[in-house]
Symmetry: C2
DNA sequence: CGAAGATGCTTAACATGTTAAGTGAATGCG
DNA sequence: CGCATTCACTTAACATGTTAAGCATCTTCG
């Protein structure tokens, strides 16, 4: 059998870990996990979204998102209000505290990303992301059907 | 701020998920998680290894590995014995049941991998893995020091 | 209208990720 | 030798990943 340490899943896992290792300490200093940070960023970009939409954007499964939103709301970093038209849906938005927190994290985060880009090379990085996108697209629809998470 | 859905971490996450989505159902049918499968494969390749070495190979953190080994041992898929020379170390090896289980999973797993390779293109896949390896190497040593997990 | 089904979200249960602390065994060194 | 340090691994505690159930609300259609 193939040397599994050279398999595609392992390559992807190690590469992602190498990248995230750069960001985690900074996020941690601000009391945020990687996933919480994704949610805040998504909310800042979307300016309010339904939970399902947020799950798709932040690439989180419903149950994870449910828990995280509960915690972020308790920390006053986000706000929720149920939609009037459809009581099942709830609109989530980032709070003022949330915006403030983002502002305090963003500079370091941007700097790290810039350093990664510089080291790896902007062109190469673009190529890599191109290929990753193609891989994702190639496999879309191969596996199970219903995809609440990604799959736009 | 950058559209975070196009950031490198998200690209890597989505790509990996697209790949793993192909394998999970088959593994699940055999009562294995992705991580348990990694450990079995690593053990089959190494023919017995110390826990730390196994963590490095299967790219798992110590605490995760500890729990998983406990469970795999309870299921009689692996065996452990403490080293004579150094009582702190324990040698882990795959059991006969473990080998049997691997044999029952491997064909499907190989078929899925072959299909992914076929769809994406073997050459492109090699290119992608090459770039992933470079990315990993580029970032090695940038972040925190001590790396018990990977970083050979 | 009203019951059956679909939808949006949450809870539950178990497995792993992540960091810190704990434990026993080896090592280094005065 | 003896004691502090290091080492290999495990436990603990909390956050997320993953699948299955649960629970309202909404929609569909007779």
């Amino acid at each position: 059998m193939r040397d599994f340490s050279r398999s595609l899943p392992m390559s992807l896992l190690r590469a992602r870990e190498a990248v995230m290792r750069q960001f985690r300490p900074s996020l941690r200093q601000h009391g945020l996990t990687e996933q919480q940070w994704r949610i805040l960023r998504a909310l800042a970009a979307l300016e309010g979204a339904e939970v399902t939409e947020l799950a798709r954007t932040a690439f989180l499964l419903g149950p994870s998102l449910s828990r995280i939103l509960r915690d972020l709301e308790a920390r006053n970093l986000i706000e929720r209000k149920t939609a009037k038209a459809d009581q099942r849906r709830s609109m989530v938005s980032i709070s003022k505290d949330g915006v403030k927190l983002m502002a305090s994290v963003a500079p370091t985060s941007e700097a790290i990303y810039a350093e990664i880009t510089r080291r790896f090379g902007a062109r190469k990085l673009a190529e890599l992301q191109q290929m990753l996108g193609e891989l994702e697209h190639t496999l879309a629809g191969l596996g199970s059907a219903d995809d609440t998470r990604a799959e736009e």
